[in-house]
């Protein structure tokens, strides 16, 4: 069994050679690893490889293919590219080459929406201001766009990564 895994900008090929309980033998690109991988707390793994002890923390994001993974002082976004993902990726390739959905990576409160549906906005224009923990963040469009949908209103509490405004 072999699949691709994306870690930040790098895409690695992983091949499972053997799995025996928590003992794993895998090939990553051209290197072979034999390691002992145990989930000791929810989302916390103790990995022993060549007698080196690693602590890896892992949070599942939108589905079981997307993770945020922390090593000691680093944090990675990891995506498992299985057959289903590949199919979807091919199909939506050209749709994905620009950001059309405006979202805030942090949860917060909508402070201001200075645009209305149908407005034409210029590259760099702010379309929404979100506040969290007393800090305000402005979200701008990257190119000249038209506001198509506004999914929240001022004063709303929003989640992280929730789509707020759609432009085209």
């Amino acid at each position: 069994m072999s699949l691709e895994i994306k870690i930040d900008d790098r895409t690695a090929r992983l091949k499972l050679i053997e799995k025996n309980g928590n003992m794993l033998k895998v090939e990553v690109d051209d290197r072979i690893y034999e390691l002992d991988c145990v989930m000791v707390e929810p989302g916390v793994y103790s990995v022993i490889y060549n007698n080196i002890s690693y602590n890896i923390e892992l949070i599942e994001k939108k589905d079981h293919r997307h993770y945020n993974v922390n090593t000691l002082y680093n944090s990675y976004d990891i995506e498992i590219i299985d057959a289903e993902t590949k199919y979807r990726k091919n199909r939506s390739k050209d749709e994905l080459d620009d950001i059309r959905k405006i979202a805030s990576p942090m949860p917060g409160k909508v402070v201001k929406i200075p645009v209305s549906i149908g407005d034409k906005v210029k590259a760099g224009d702010t379309v929404i201001i979100v506040s969290a923990m007393k800090m305000e963040s402005e979200y701008k469009v990257q190119k000249d766009r038209t506001v198509k949908e506004i999914l929240v209103k001022e004063g709303d509490t929003i989640d992280g990564d929730q789509t707020l405004i759609v432009v085209e």
Partner: protein
């Protein structure tokens, strides 16, 4: 005697105050907003009162609701913590009127030290050095020039009606004096309709050093030495330590007595902090007074060996200070790191959210004052401070080693925190050498923002772990439990290894 205290605050400081109350056998009353029903301070307190919706303006700043809760609970006293209503003279006055002890200074002290100009005048009168400058606004160009010559370059020209950097000019060279005065005044009149300016000495490499003071209601005042707070980001303290690496015993004694004089001049009682700005030549100037407990008070507690909250409560009860200046000393070295819910890789954007997992650093010389727990959702409404990590060691280098160890062992997932950034500061030469001022973070930005590479092997292990989790999850949906191995798997593993290696 105070028997019940309402803590008009939330987060780590509410719990910190309650801990001292509990040790003194004083009942504690929590107040909470809508967002805070699940907060630790509600669970830690003996009693808990709901005081309003999540925004602090409607709850933690809502004087009526807080006073109402205090009266309903029968609290003798209110401890305001820091922030919120802690430096609000009207609130202190209102408490007084309602017959509730405000654990803090008098309304008079709060308001007179809260206003910078009044405070400055009071300090000059008490003989405490202030930043050299003009006491009154200047509208005459010639007078301005002569004042600048009197103060000596560099100076800062500030619009007296000003704010937000408008109408401000830094003058370093003699040749620029006239043009700077003119441009500052012209900008000031456009912005504020008033071209009067102040002139102040500009401190080039300022150190921010503050003195902790305690004063009782009987006229006794002492200081508990200094705290070095120059590691700042956008005027927010990030790391504090005591003793200050800059300090000499003579300077400490002198600044300490000025701090006490400042407290006496404000007829102060309670715990307070005198902030000074210090230049590289060890000239120091009064900056402002904080008429409350500071976030960074634990480093003083550790090195001097006092519980400042207990002292606050005893002073509020009208007791005389038992601590004597001549008996106090600094023992060893303490450092505090403030852990914020923010993403250092994304311009320190706040990072509220649910704490998925937390491992707190413990052991010798480590104090951890926090309030979050696994499963807790950090609300979007309040300050991003999660906790304070305070270490002590006999020497400064050992304290730095200990802080590194504690930051290494401190794990939080679910949100981003400032931990990696703080760990990086501990490895910065200027910090290690104690050679820093308030420009430290700016000056070391490149080093601080570069992250230690995890290396290809470590990256590979991260992705293998993610793959393992993914696979276990798929396998489990067809039978097994959630990724944790059952006993039989485990035994197999044990035997296998035993055969292989021993």
């Amino acid at each position: 005697m105070i028997k019940k205290v309402l803590i008009a605050n939330r987060g780590e400081i509410a719990i910190r105050v309650m801990r001292s109350c509990r040790e003194m056998d004083i009942a504690s009353v929590a107040v909470y907003s809508e967002a805070d029903r699940n907060s630790m301070h509600v669970r830690y307190a003996d009693e808990a009162f709901f005081i309003g919706p999540s925004p602090s303006s409607e709850s933690y700043l809502n004087v009526e609701n807080i006073i109402g809760a205090a009266k309903q609970a029968g609290a003798d006293a209110i401890h305001p913590g820091y922030g919120f209503l802690s430096e609000n003279a009207k609130f202190a006055e209102r408490c007084e009127k309602e017959g509730i002890i405000f654990i803090g200074p008098s309304p008079f002290s709060i308001s007179s030290m809260g206003d910078k100009i009044t405070a400055r005048k009071r300090m000059i009168k008490a003989g405490v050095p202030v930043v050299p400058g003009t006491a009154e606004p200047i509208t005459d160009e010639t007078l301005a020039i002569s004042k600048i010559e009197e103060i000596g370059l560099p100076v800062m020209i500030k619009a007296s009606a000003g704010g937000g950097g408008k109408g401000m000019r830094l003058v370093k060279k003699k040749a620029d004096i006239l043009s700077s005065i003119r441009s500052a005044r012209s900008e000031a009149i456009t912005a504020f309709g008033d071209d009067a300016v102040y002139i102040e000495k500009y401190i080039e490499s300022p150190h921010h050093i503050e003195f902790q003071i305690l004063a009782d209601k009987h006229g006794n005042a002492i200081h508990l030495f200094e705290r070095e707070c120059s590691v700042q980001r956008r005027h927010q303290k990030v790391i504090e330590e005591t003793p200050s690496p800059l300090m000499t015993p003579e300077l400490r004694m002198e600044m300490g007595s000025h701090a006490v004089a400042a407290a006496k001049a404000a007829k102060y009682y309670g715990a307070g902090t005198i902030e000074f700005i210090v230049d590289d030549n060890l000239n120091y100037y009064f900056l402002e007074m904080n008429t409350r407990l500071q976030v960074e008070h634990p480093i003083t507690e550790r090195v001097v060996g006092v519980d400042l909250v207990k002292e606050q409560i005893r002073i509020a009860e009208g007791k005389k200070l038992e601590l004597k200046q001549e008996e106090l000393e600094q023992f060893g070295h303490a450092i505090e790191c403030r852990i914020y819910a923010e993403d250092p890789d994304k311009n320190f954007m706040p990072s509220p959210g649910v704490i998925k997992h937390i491992t707190e650093p413990l052991g010798l010389g480590v104090r951890h004052d926090g309030y979050v727990y696994e499963g807790y959702e950090i609300p979007i409404y309040y300050d991003p401070l999660i906790s304070k990590l305070i270490v002590w060691a006999k020497t400064r280098p050992e304290a730095i080693d200990r802080m590194k160890r504690a930051l290494w062992a401190y794990k939080i997932t679910g949100i981003k925190t400032s931990i990696p950034f703080l760990a990086r500061i501990m490895e910065t030469n200027d910090f290690i050498n104690g050679n820093y001022n308030t420009h430290f973070i700016e000056d070391n930005a490149d080093f601080l923002m570069k992250r230690q590479a995890c290396g290809k092997r470590c990256e590979d292990i991260a992705l293998i772990t993610a793959y393992f989790h993914y696979k276990e999850r798929l396998d489990n949906s067809s039978g097994k439990k959630n990724g944790v191995l059952d006993k039989s798997d485990w035994k197999d593993f044990g035997r296998k290894l035993a055969v292989k290696r021993l």
